[in-house]
Every structure is written in C-alpha cells, then in structure tokens.
C-alpha cells in the first residue's frame, strides 16, 4: 500500500487516477474494492488508514507542539512482547505522568483523569480508564490482537469497516497496514518507525522544570491542565531509547508517587544526556528540526520566537505531490472515510499554524511552507465544512496572514462566510436557578403511604438541597472532597429512604433538579469556554496581536483539548454524578433508571414537524423558529437524560482498567445471557432510521453509548447498534446534501459523527455548538496562534479575572431591569401548577401566529394593492424616476410597518385576554389571572411583531 502511494507520489501524473479510485467508492463496494496495482492488493480502508498515518508522520516534526492523531500502526517490539501487566503499567504511568505533558490529539483519547467516576475508584479517586469512548473502531480493536494495545492510547485508528460481528483477524490486517520496513521515500531516517516518533527533545531539553502532579484522589475535581487528548509521550519516545528503564519502573502499575515520578524523570534525563540521541538514528536526524523550547507542555502552541518565520508560497516544494496528497485526503474526508472529520480539520488547522525551522530534508510536510500550502489546499477543498464553523473561528481564519498570503481567494470566501455564520459561542445562560417547586398535587401527604414516609421525605428534601448548596459553595475550594464532605449525610439519607420506601419520590425530585440545572448548554465556568469570544470577534487578529501581553494575563486558560474530548459531566452535572456514586444505592439507581428510560422513550417519540407538513406556510408565520426551539430543547434534554441513563446502567460494570481477555469473554458470555439491557438500543435505532428521526435519536444514543464500560461494546446488542451507527456515518456524506439540512447532518456527523437523512432544517449553528462544544477548539487553536503567547506559559494562559471599570451613563440599569423582569416572569411560573405555564405559552404562540395571519390577510394585502397601484401609476407616467419610486415605496412601507406592529399588538391584547380567561380554571385568583394575561399578551405580541418587522418589508418588495 505504501508502495502504491509512493508510486503515485513519484508519478504525479497518475494522481487523478488514484484519487478518483479513492473517491469512486460506491456505497456498497467501498470496502471491497481493492487496489491491485504493483501486484499488491490493498483494501481501500487500509489505504485510508495508511494515508492518515502517513500525513501525521510527515508532519510530526513540524507539529512538535501538537500533532493530532498520531497514529502508529506498526506493532512495536515492546508492545508485542509485553504482557497485560506491562500494558497496564504503561496505561497508568501514561496517564499519571505523561499525558499531561504532550499534546498530541488523538482519535480516541484517554478520557479525563480528573473525573473519578467508577465505583471502584471512589476511595482513591484514581484515573478514569482509557478508551472510555466506545466506538465501532475501538470495539473491534479491543477484540483484536493483543500486540496492538498501545495503539489505543496512540490514537491509532483502523478502518472500522470490518463487520461488527467479526472478531480476531485483526492482527493480520495490522501487519498489512504497517509501513513495510523497506519503504523508502527518500531515506529511512526521514521516515522513522511510527512507534519511535521523535518527541524526545521535549524531555532532553526541558526549558523549565515540570512539577508532575499525580492526578488522583488528591485533586479529584481539579481541572485538567492540558489536553485529554494528549498522547502519552512515553509511548512515543520510550521504547527506542529508554525502554528498559521506563518499562521497568512502570511495571509498578499503580500511579506513581510524585517523588517516584521525579526520580524517573531525573534518571531519564541524565540517561539521555549521556547518550545524545545516538540510540535512534531518526532522532538524530530530526532533533534539529524541533524548535527549542516548544512543546514543553500542553496544547498546540506557538513559540513567539518562531513566529517571525514566515511561510512563503514560493518556497513550497513538492507541489504536485502535495496536491495529490491533499486531493486524496479531501476525498477521504468528503466520503466520511475518516473516523472523525473534525479531528482531521483540526489536524489541518494545526498544520496551518505550525512552526518549523527551515530544513533541507526531503519530506513533504516537514517545512512550514509545505504544511501551510497543504492546509490551505485542504481548507479550500473543504470550504463548505469550514464555512459552518463559528464566527470567531472564521474571522481568525480569514485574518490569518498565512491564509491570506497563500490563497487570497480562500480569505475572501472566509470573509463572506463570516457574515452568514450565526453560531455564538458564549450564549448567555441565565444563572437564575430554581429548586424544584413543591406542588401540592404531587407532593402533599396524600401522595405518601403514611405519615412517616411523608415526614421523612420532608427531611430528605432538605438534606438533598443542603448537599447541593454546600457543593455549589465549596466544590471549587481546594481540598474539598465530595465523598468526605457529603458522603455520610447522603448515605444516611439513603438508609432513611430505604426504611421509608421513598425512593420513587426522591428519584423524581433528583431528576427534576438535574433537568432544571443541567438541561441548558454548559454552565458558565465549564472548562474551555473563554468568556471573551465576543472580544476576540470585536478586535480581530490585528488588535489581538497588540493585546498579546495583556491577554496573557487576563483571559481564561486556552486549554486546547482537541476536537475529541472524552465524555464529561460539566457544571452541575458533576454534582449529580458524584451524588449517585456516593449514594451507591441500588434501589435509587433502579428508580432513576426506570424514570430516565421512560422519559427518554417519551422524548424520542415527540413529534418533530414532519417534512410533509406544509413547512412553507408555517414557516412564514414564524412557527418554524418555534419548532426549532422546541426541537433543540427536546434534543438537549434527551442527551442529558441519556448520558445519565448510560452512566447508571453501566456503573455496575465499570472497572478502572480493561479486564483481561479471559475476563472479558466470561463477562460477555454472562451478560449476554443474564442481564437484560436497560434500553433496547437496536430497536430504538432501527425504529428511528425507519421513521427518519435519526436527527433526534442518534445524538442522544451517542450520549448513552459514550458511557459504556469496557465489555459493553462487545455485547451483541451494543455491538450491533454501534455497527448501525457506523453504517449511518459512512453513508451520509456532507457534500451530498442540500444546504438546508447541512447542519442537521453536521450535527450527526459531529456527535458521532455519523449521519443519516432528514429534510427539516431543525438544527441551527447554536444548537450544533451546544451539543458539540469541542467545535470551538478550532477557534481556540487559531486564537492561540494569533496571540502566540501559549508557549511561554506552557500552553495555558494564566487567568486573572479582570474587574472592569464601571461605565457611566450606560443603559445597564435598564438592561438589568429587563433581566429582572424576565426573571420575575420565570419565577411567577415556578410556584404555579405546570399547566398554567403550558396554557400561557400555548395561547401566546397561537395568538401570535394568528395575529400574523390576520395582518397578512388584511393590512399586507391592502398594502400590496396600494403598492401595485403606485408602481403602475409611476410606470405609466413617462418620466418616472427610479429613486423617487423607491422613496415613495419606502415611505409606504415605513408607515405600514409601524401600523402593522400597532395593529398586531392590539390584536394580541384582545385575543390573549379572551383565550387565557377561557382556558384557566375558574378558581384562579385574580392576581394570577392578571399576571398570566399580561405575560401572554407580551409573548404573543413579541412573536407577532418580530415576524412582522423582519418580514413585512422583504415580503412586500419581493411580491411587488
């Protein structure tokens, strides 16, 4: 396979042939269509895998500060000979010491070590295990040869195109995938064996001391300081050089103590000092390429010293070869042959922002000129995808001087796209959090079996909220520990619950509170959301350059985690997760599961506006917006519930480490016979595909499946579901879909990213970013490049919360007044029966819509007549003047617009009043009735007026 690529790279003329071959992948034959050139038969998926790994290898020197998805596919000696214990040792050592120190973004990253989530680890709060995320790719790999286990951490990916049911047979393909040792693009030294990727200078030339902090129970909630997605650098560097030493020490297995780690690093350092890179030929040749002081720590970073190095279009070498590579690469992306298109896009952006000193080696992507050329070429090709990024990222891209100098056309396109992008990264989330209201209908004595249960629950409610308050106030304090602080109280409460038989009541309260607090997009304070997105947008790259130093001190950490972060429980979700873990109460878990499952299945049935329902007519009345909002709210809720359902369901099976193969097999046998899955994922998925509702179902199923334990993906039901999801992903290619539902697909592609078919444009960019916060990584990477400050502070910008000077005479008072008014309205509904809110919202929605219809039928049509008359008259008169004509029509529209708003508001007032009076119970108190009326009036008028002011002019002009 390598030979094929090599051949084609040498004979660029046949590039088109190869590329078309790659692209010609008809849906069904993609996997089976072999290349049969040079007498080598290669499966297409193997080629894709090879290509991706090839690109990463090629660019690794240039990206010493952050290469995504380093994907070695040659089984390394250490891995082959080492047994399970060694792998485990590598795992734990890798997570404890090294993951944080390198920044390679992986396909399947080791998940957050800060989130302690399996019961076994409660006391010690040890690392989360690796490979958390179940994926078809991975699940197959797990069953695959032992010798390739390392590839998990390395972000290896294989094609995943094998049938989900097939086990074994994996090491065979692995061998085939490996670049043959005889491969010779120019010389072997330049094309180092994958496992020995030359990151070693990171260790041998530390510019400053790293204090390794073991990530474990001591700081269970600390925010990870660098990428989750980091590839442990020992994996990359140790086997060829310090293999014995490291392996030996790492056999300790459990996370090493700080002192041990230090010792280890010291030894390693001195060892390397003694044998300067002699042990590895590739190292010696590559070392000079690695810029000094780069990549000591974390996130894709940019060294200020190197920023002066300007990539130039004229210095690009191997242009034809790069063109070919780009074409092949783009084909893979377009065809969804890559496991995650955003990971590839991220890789491309890293290439765009890479730094590399000049070198004379013959290597396609070693020089920054080539990297940027390649990146820009790919970005141009994949522009449709790029154009759907958020405004901030687009702006940063457009203002990137490299883009400008390599492709002014791309820059212009980017500038245009900015205008269309609507994704906002920091949505203002109301911090006004309510508790779950006490509703006599469901909460008073008559809902309990006896007095004791009622009064016990009264106390339990108070204990629960006490815990929540304490967590809110203290969980960010250093040294605070959930279990130590709240464990006793929570477990005591569970005992009482059990004796009073109140689990169902408590489960209801618990879930309601969960939904109330966590349903929306991520809470402020969640990692990775710098609050200054708007500022970046405002200032642009130029301003940012100048603000470099200031920014360094002011903005929040730019922890770049890459586009493939592990599953997490951000914000308040952490409380609920920890609560479930700490309570460790099987009765409660069962009730939670039942309730979650029921709610999920209900949500999954929620009617999404069907494509046949005359969208056109509805849309004109502004109802589409309503539909979208409803959809997004359902989707966000379903994702939240599914994540917790998955968490609870797989909790009993979570282990900190992957069980041995024998244990895995035994538990597969056991679990597939005995335990009934909480959710019939296959049925849900099949049903959803059949009814073309994947846009709703797939995102929440993904959340559910992301919680799978090690063995889970091996069970038939989940394996089948994952296989189906993979098929979906493969079958839907973004470039083949019309513009309206592009975002639908993009969401699916992003969450899995996998995709199917839907015709309603339900997803907007905001929802996409809510569901896939990792998409903002692009902006962060680009911003880091502009500010160029990340390297200095080790990839993390220190955070100093700025206090802004208060502005005088601003309408802040006004705004806060409005905000308060909004809060009061929400608060009003809080202690009223839920039906009141539903009624008000329903009436407002209908009345608003009717008002628009009414305006269209009366005022608008009247206006049309008048406008037409004016037009006709003017056209008749001989000396008509276009500007005058425009003027008179504009005047007409202006007056008409005002009148329409007034009349619509009046209409809403009258109708809302009648409807609310009729629909609310007779016994409603006068004040409540009055308040409901005025809220309804306001909502209805708002809806009507926003549609009218947005559409009246456009519609009239169009029609006239």
């Amino acid at each position: 396979m390598a030979a094929i690529l090599d051949l084609h790279l040498r004979k660029v003329s046949s590039a088109a042939h190869l590329s078309s071959k790659c692209c010609s992948s008809g849906q069904q034959e993609r996997d089976s269509l072999p290349f049969t050139e040079c007498g080598v038969t290669v499966q297409k998926h193997q080629f894709v895998s090879f290509l991706l790994n090839f690109l990463r290898e090629q660019s690794s020197p240039a990206l010493a500060h952050g290469t995504p998805a380093k994907t070695p596919n040659r089984p390394r000696p250490a891995a082959q000979t080492g047994g399970l214990s060694e792998r485990r040792a590598c795992r734990s050592a890798g997570s404890a010491t090294t993951s944080r120190s390198s920044s390679r973004v992986q396909l399947f990253s080791p998940p957050s070590f800060s989130t302690t989530w399996n019961p076994a680890s409660r006391p010690s709060g040890s690392d989360r295990r690796h490979g958390q995320r179940p994926s078809p790719f991975q699940s197959q790999k797990r069953r695959g040869g032992r010798g390739s286990q390392h590839s998990d951490e390395m972000g290896f990916w294989d094609t995943g195109s094998k049938k989900p049911g097939r086990g074994g047979g994996h090491s065979r393909s692995r061998e085939q995938l490996s670049p043959p040792s005889t491969l010779n693009f120019n010389n072997l030294e330049d094309f180092p064996p994958v496992g020995s990727s030359p990151i070693s200078p990171l260790i041998s030339k530390p510019s400053r001391r790293i204090n390794p902090t073991p990530v474990s129970a001591e700081r269970p909630r600390s925010k990870p300081k660098t990428c989750f997605t980091s590839t442990p650098f020992t994996k990359l560097s140790s086997p060829p050089m310090g293999a014995e030493v490291l392996d030996g020490s790492m056999r300790v297995g459990s996370p090493l103590s700080l002192q041990e780690e230090r010792e280890l690093l010291k030894r390693e350092k001195s060892k390397r000092a003694q044998q300067p890179a002699a042990s590895s030929p590739c190292l010696s040749s590559l070392e000079p390429c690695t810029p000094p002081k780069t990549g000591v720590l974390g996130g894709a970073k940019v060294t200020p010293e190197l920023q002066t190095l300007c990539p130039e279009r004229s210095k690009v070498t191997f242009t034809p070869e790069l063109d070919l590579l780009a074409e092949l690469y783009c084909a893979c992306i377009s065809e969804n042959l890559v496991p995650n298109i955003f990971l590839e896009l991220f890789f491309v952006m890293q290439l765009l922002t890479s730094m590399s000193p000049p070198s004379n080696d013959r290597c396609y992507l070693k020089q920054v000129h080539n990297c940027v050329y390649f990146a820009v070429t790919v970005l141009e090709n994949q522009f449709q995808l790029v154009a759907h990024l958020d405004k901030g990222a687009l702006r940063l891209l457009a203002e990137n001087e490299r883009v400008a100098s390599f492709s002014p056309a791309l820059r212009d396109l980017l500038i245009q796209a900015q205008g269309k992008s609507s994704a906002k990264l920091s949505p203002s989330v109301s911090t006004f959090i309510h508790s779950v209201p006490f509703q006599p209908d469901t909460d008073n004595r008559s809902n309990f079996g006896n007095d004791k249960a009622f009064h016990t629950f009264k106390k339990q409610r108070d204990v629960f909220y006490e815990a929540l308050r304490e967590w809110e106030d203290l969980h960010n304090e250093p040294g605070w520990n959930f279990d130590a602080s709240l464990g006793g109280r929570i477990r005591g409460m569970m005992n009482q619950l059990t004796s009073a038989g109140n689990h169902s009541h408590f489960a209801r309260l618990f879930l309601k509170q969960l939904v109330q607090m966590c349903k929306g997009p991520r809470m402020s304070g969640a990692p990775g959301e710098p609050p200054d997105a708007d500022l970046l947008e405002m200032l642009g790259a130029d301003g940012l350059g100048r603000l470099k130093r200031l920014e360094e001190r002011l903005i929040q950490p730019h922890g770049i985690v890459g586009p493939c972060p592990p599953p997490s429980f951000p914000g308040h979700q952490e409380f609920f997760r920890d609560f479930i873990q700490t309570a460790s109460c099987c009765q409660l878990n069962q009730h939670l599961q039942d309730s979650l499952c029921q709610q999920l299945l209900q949500l999954d049935e929620v009617s999404i506006l069907s494509p046949s329902a005359s969208i056109k007519e509805e849309d004109e009345d502004g109802d589409m917006e309503q539909q979208k909002q409803r959809f997004s709210s359902v989707l966000l809720l379903a994702r939240l519930l599914a994540k917790f359902l998955g968490f609870i369901s797989f909790l009993p099976y979570q282990t900190s480490e992957r069980p041995s193969r024998e244990i895995q097999e035994a538990s597969v046998a056991l679990r597939s016979k005995v335990s009934v899955p909480v959710l019939d994922v296959c049925a849900v998925l099949d049903n959803s595909v059949r009814r073309r509702r994947t846009i709703l179902t797939v995102p929440w199923l993904v959340e559910f499946l992301s919680m799978l334990d090690f063995v889970g993906p091996l069970l038939l039901c989940y394996r089948t579901a994952l296989g189906t999801l993979l098929l979906l992903y493969r079958r839907l290619q973004l470039r083949r879909c019309a513009d309206v539902c592009y975002l639908n697909k993009l969401l699916l592609v992003s969450v899995l990213g996998w995709l199917f078919h839907d015709c309603i444009p339900l997803v907007d960019q905001q929802l996409l970013y809510f569901c896939c916060p990792f998409l903002s990584e692009f902006r962060k990477l680009l911003a880091a490049f502009v500010s160029g400050s990340t390297a200095k502070s080790g990839g993390i910008i220190r955070k100093i919360t700025p206090t802004s000077a208060e502005l005088k005479d601003t309408p802040i008072a006004n705004r806060s007044q409005q905000k308060l008014q909004g809060e009061l309205e929400q608060a009003f509904f809080h202690n009223q029966p839920p039906s009141l809110r539903r009624t008000v919202e329903f009436v407002a929605e209908r009345v608003g819509s009717n008002s628009v219809k009414h305006m269209k039928a009366t005022l608008v049509s009247e206006l049309m007549d008048r406008g037409e008359k004016i037009l006709r008259d003017k056209l008749k008169s001989l000396n008509f003047n276009t500007s005058k004509l425009n003027e008179s029509i504009c005047a007409l529209l202006c007056d008409a617009g005002l009148e329409a708003l007034e009349r619509a508001t009046r209409f809403c007032d009258e109708k809302s009043l009648e409807a609310v009076r009729t629909l609310l119970p007779e016994e409603t108190s006068p004040t409540v009735l009055r308040t409901s009326e005025s809220i309804t009036k306001r909502l209805a008028a708002e809806k009507a007026c926003s549609w009218l002011s947005a559409n009246i002019t456009g519609k009239l002009i169009k029609d006239l």
């Binding site: 006004f432 309510h434 508790s435 779950v436 209201p437 006490f438 006599p440 909460d443 008073n444 004595r445 008559s446 009622f454 009064h455 009264k458 409610r461 108070d462 629960f464 909220y465 006490e466 308050r469 806060s816 308060l820 809060e823 009061l824 608060a827 009003f828 809080h830 202690n831 108190s925 006068p926 004040t927 409540v928 308040t931």
Partner: protein, 271 residues
C-alpha cells in the same frame, strides 16, 4: 434596622453585666439612644437566653435546688411581705421567672408528691392565684412581672407581638395589592413547610426575587438566623425558591449574604 457587626458587638458587650429587669433596660436605652428600645430589648433578650443556657444547669442540680428552696422558706417566713424570690434570683444571677419556676416545682413536690404534672406547674405560673400558698403566689407573681426575658408574661407578649407583625405584614401586602397565600391556607393545601406568606406573583426586592416572606418580630443575630435558616428558610428556599425574611427589630447586616437565596429586611420596602 440593619446593624453592622461592630455596632451589634458594642451592644452585646454592654449587656454582659445586665440583669433582665426594667432598670437594666433603662441603662441600656440611655447608653444607645439611637437604637429603638425594641431592638435593644431583643438583643438583650437573645444574649440573656444564651447566658442562661450556659449557666442553667448549675441551678438545676438537686442540692442547689434544695438549698435555694430552704433559703426561700426561711426568708419568706422571716419577711412574708418582701420580694424574697426576686432578691434571691438577682443575687444568684438567675432569671426571676426561672427562679420562681424552680421553687414552685420544688414546692409542688412537697404538696402533691412526685406526681405533679408540668401542665399544673405551667398553669400555676400563669395564674399564681392557683398556688395554694399565698406567700409563694405573691413571690411568683413578682418574679413573673419583673422578668423581661422569661416567664409566661414575656411569652405572651412575644406571641402577641409576633401575631401583630404578621397582621401588619398582611395589611401592608394588601395595601400594595399583592395577593398571597398565608400559613393557614397553605396548611389546608397540604404543604409540608409553611412560611408566613407565599406570594402568588413573586416580587423583586432590591433586585432579588422574592417568593415567600417570613416575619420575625425579633432581632436577627447569628445564632437565631442560623437556626432559622436550618429549620425554616432553607426548606422554604428549596420548595418555593428565594424569599425574604423580615426581622422587624433589625439584624446584623453581614448576615444578609445569601441574597440570591434568602434576603433579610427589617421593614417592607417601598415597592
């Protein structure tokens, strides 16, 4: 009145040596002319209760009770018209009402054996004429009316003041056309925790949402606020959302630090 912690501490310091008598109240009032008498009395009362809680056990020891009782018997015999019990209470630094209770309790043991009930004791304290011993009845009566912190009279006054302020609160709310559910209504609806007032339509007080209002006709110090939070306010908060407590006789300003959850006020604000 919102007192700073420093102001509050000044007052507390001044109460340390005072006895729960009218004379002492006068001293306090002269010392802090800017504070209302109710505030000063309330602070003193709370402080005195804390002091009593610390010391009461030593008066409850059997031998101490016995010696108090014998001394009372001797002195009452010698000076039947004198306020013997009141003097004794002041002398041993015990609240007169509590001293009266102690002695009456001991007296009843002699009269009706160990069997006398608490209800009998309480009714006699409330109505000294029921006490079979005329001299003791007089003494008990003097203790009750001369104690501004303990005893049935004080309890009665406190209760009345509490009621009065609840009525005041309801009147003020009605004046402002705010409709609400009061405690009684809430109980009939089956609420497990019932603040004095739940507003049907929430209001904003100094920018904070208020769903419920609790009226406290006392001063809000650390101890009482903490107790109220744990026993009442947090329960209200997690059922009905944020609310407002009115300490009619003022509170320590620094305590009002959880305003998103519970706001403290000492009056109804101009809304």
């Amino acid at each position: 009145m919102r007192l700073s912690r420093a102001e509050y501490k000044d007052i507390v310091r001044a109460t340390e040596q005072l006895r729960p008598t009218r004379q002492c109240m006068k001293i306090l009032k002269d010392r802090f002319p800017n504070h209302s008498q109710s505030t000063l009395l309330s602070i003193f009362s709370l402080e005195y209760q804390k002091r009593t809680k610390r010391t009461i056990s030593r008066h409850h020891a059997a031998d101490v009770v016995e010696s108090h009782y014998q001394r009372y018997l001797n002195e009452a015999k010698a000076r039947p018209a004198a306020p013997v019990l009141l003097e004794m209470a002041n002398e041993v630094d015990l609240s007169p009402a509590l001293m009266g209770r102690l002695i009456l309790d001991r007296f009843l043991q002699d009269v009706s054996g160990e069997m006398h009930s608490k209800a009998v004791l309480n009714s006699m304290l409330k109505e000294p004429s029921l006490i079979p011993d005329q001299v003791l009845a007089n003494n008990i009566y003097q203790c009750t009316i001369n104690d501004c912190c303990y005893g049935p009279l004080v309890d009665c006054i406190k209760h009345a003041i509490g009621q009065e302020h609840e009525v005041l609160l309801r009147d003020k709310l009605k004046e402002r056309n705010l409709s609400f559910l009061d405690e009684n209504k809430l109980r009939t609806m089956g609420y497990d925790k019932t603040p004095d007032i739940i507003l049907e339509v929430p209001i904003a007080v100094e920018g904070h949402i208020v769903h419920w209002i609790e009226s406290k006709a006392s001063f809000g110090d650390d101890y009482s606020h903490r107790t109220y939070l744990n026993e009442q306010f947090w329960s209200y908060w997690n059922r009905f959302g944020p609310g407002l407590v009115i300490y009619w006789y003022g509170f320590i300003g620094e305590l009002d630090c959880q305003r998103d959850r519970v706001t403290a006020q000492n009056r109804i604000l101009q809304l």
